[in-house]
Amino acid sequence: MRHPDIPKWPYNLFKGFCHRDFFEELQGDLEENFLLNIDEKGIKAARKTYRLEILKLIRPSVMKKTKFAPKTIGRLARNYMLTSIRSVKYNPGYILSNIFGLALALSISTIGYFYYRFNDTFNEHYDQAEYLYKIHGLRASEATLGSSSIALGPALETAGIDAMRYHHETIAIRQENRLFQESTVFADPNYLESFELESVSGQKIKMSNADEIFISQDMATKLFGDVYPVGELVEVVFPNEKERSFVVKDVFKDPPQNVSFHFPMITSFDNYLEFYKVEENDWSSYIDGTFVNIKNMTPDQVEAQLNTFVEPHNIYNSERIIEKFRLDNVLVWPTFEHTLAGRSFWNTLHPASVIGTVSTSLAILLLACFNFINTSIALSGKRLKEIAVRKVMGGNRKSTITQFMIENSLMVFAAVIVSFGISYFLIPAYNSLMTQEIVQLNKVPIETIVYFSISLIVFVALLSGAYPSFYVSRFSSLEIFRDKLVLSGKNRLMVVLLTFQFFLCFYNFVSLYINVDNSYYQETLDRGYDVENVINVPLYSPEQISELENRLNQHPDILNVAGTTNTIGFNFRDNTATIEGIEYEVADLAVGTNYLQMMGIRLIKGSFFSDQYEVASKYVVINEMLEDHIGQDLLNKTIKYEDQLFTVIGVVEDFNLKPMMFDNRIKPTIIRASPENAFKYASLQVQGETNSINSKVEIIWYELFPQQLYKGFLQERVMRGIRETNNIMVNINLFSTAITILISALGLYTLIALKVQRRSKEFGIRKVLGASKKVIVGLLGKDLYWILGIAIVPGLAAAYLVNDTVFDIIYAYRITIELKHLLWPSIGLFAIVVMTIGYKVLQTGKLNPVEQLRME
């Protein structure tokens, strides 16, 4: 019997290969040490040790003895190998292309596996994960509360529970004359005892002093240009504009990406209390989260204790009344982090993105396996005589199967080796396409990679090696010798597999074209205002605008400065307005008097605001959509709005209020003038390279306001979400299209070439009897046309449906999928197919029949 905690697969593997005489002793020893390790190092480390021990036990002295003497096995293996090598020697081209195709797919499946693993091992990086819980507040009808009161942690500590507070804030760091913003975490010292963090020197980081700070490796290079700047000072400017220096105590290594806690800097929680003026026992102040380590208790005990604090919580939080507290283990909580109210931690990948990636990579792996199967069967057509001779000489079917299995396994093994090489280049390239680095080979224990490769070899060898071996070994020798056996493309399975390959090709190619076209459309779509030449600078107080304006007006690259309360693309209010006695839902935008002209909003009729706020405040500007909505000319009409009457002074063309993601469509909009004392932004119209101008503005800002963080950003930021999404979609499609087409083309070429070889005599005779080149080409391509014809229908349909649905979900404005999106990729794919086989087919058509018909 296996102890329930012992890893199942390694145990079964061991039971399988271990000699009966040793199993009882060895497994007993391993199990005894396993239990010992659980007590000493925890279950995770114990399981790891067990797996390593099993790996190291794979040695001849432990293994089962087979019925053959070692000498016989050696000789047998040598013979099998010799035949295998010989077959590779005769068809190097086909076999190499087969191996390469498979290797490519294996690399892709590595990516798929890492997506799965990312979620599967989320937060397992922390050794004590099974004892670590986050506190959540359950509410009656609203979303569960992820953040918690500052006072909860200390209250739990007094009750004897190991609780830790965790909170992050964006702080301003001074470097020479400029400030820049960074996020830092404030945590209780016991946080680092539970959620261990490793320093670059390999030790566990321990927090002892409040004026110390720990920084990440990236931060070390960024701040000091030094990999180990221990003892240096980090100057921080806090919200009260007080400066404070922290000593760098140590530099920590970044944890793997699949943990909830990521931060460039961490310091003591006491600093948060001190610099943000919050009280330790304040139930109404909130922090990101409170965690507990319950090594010596059960979750129920802690929850009971926790729920005695529901009352004080509710007294001070009338807007966040909770019913009870709940503990969620850190291994589970990341799966629902995104549903919580008040969330600041990393969560697991969306299941759809994992399923999407895993199924894409599985489809590509299957495709490569099918390709492998097809080519293996086709190749074996050349070896029919060998099989027949084997049988006649007394070889049984088993030995033929073994021969072919060994050959196929060898090829799969070679493919795995080649795929390591491909992955080496492919994975960094893939990661650079993504916003988050999912595939981190260097953060994965080596035995995971070993197990993954072994299971991949076994899986792929069985999947792609078994069928050809059984199929080929079935032939009767008599039929082979009489030349009665025809191994053509007539094999049903081969046809089905090839159809599936082309289905994937059509699907991927069409999706790629649709996504590229959509991304181009969204990039060039007129948003109704100038996206490219505007910089927005958030103000700390409205008075800053005049100082800023005076300085910026001297700058030749800055054409205009406008103060404003709302900025188009980033913020507005939902409001109601009464027009002609009826209430309408509108978007409400409050802007400076010259803001609209500066943003390049286009006037249809009437005029923009007057420069004088006193005059402008009596008027509003509306957009075309609002007028269309109401259905009459609104110029100079009155609109009642927040209990005041305004006259419509102008109507402007529609413009996007927000990025085009999700359901952010254009709304009926009212724009009113806002007074100078309500300004929150200075918007600058600039000419030239916006990024470099932005850094020049930053320098000017720090000359004027040295203690305040510059937060200026480009108007172009409205494009960020859509660009990132489009980038990922296009890149993934490009990736899978290139690979499916490459693999399919390789397979197709091999199949056709083999077909030509096999039927060369037939074609020779046909030619002698007067068949034209056209007929020969037609004959060769016949099956293929059918396959393409059948594959195209579901391929196009799937591409249309999937992309149409996805676009509906994620974009407010998108292309409609038209005939051209289906037509051009199909033509392209046909062209690729024709080019792949065309050369071989034409060559066959040209061959001299004498060459083809002459025997040896």
Binding site: E25, L26, Q27, D29, E31, N33, L52, L57, R59, S61
Partner: protein, 108 residues
């Protein structure tokens, strides 16, 4: 000089068995060695050494009774044979002789 046929690792295994005396079975030997050597000794490496020593007739083994903490599996207890003891002794003698010949100067 006499050939003992005893590798360093095997020598340490023999010594560990002698130290553990009545209690010398796989897991205990492994832990004792890890503890003394200050590095992790894998069960696989120990198994190989035990097999070789048994082949050389330096050790012999018997099964003990069933135990609960091992999932009911029996322990195999090892003991050093007289041949093993004399091999150990020989190895020690050779070493001691050689140590006396090393000039003290090297360790000052």
């Amino acid at each position: 000089m006499k050939e003992t046929g005893l590798g360093e690792f095997q020598e340490i295994v023999l010594l560990a068995i002698l130290i553990l005396d009545e209690n010398a079975y796989g897991a205990r030997i492994q832990n004792e060695m890890s503890h003394r050597l200050g590095r992790i000794v894998s069960r696989g490496a120990l198994h190989a050494a035990l097999t070789r020593l048994t082949e050389k007739n330096f050790i012999e083994s018997t099964f003990g009774g069933a135990t609960t903490e091992r999932g009911g599996r029996r322990k195999r207890f090892y003991s050093v044979t007289n041949l093993g003891k004399s091999a150990l002794n020989d190895a020690k003698t050779i070493r001691d002789e050689m140590w006396t010949l090393v000039p003290k100067i090297h360790f000052q």
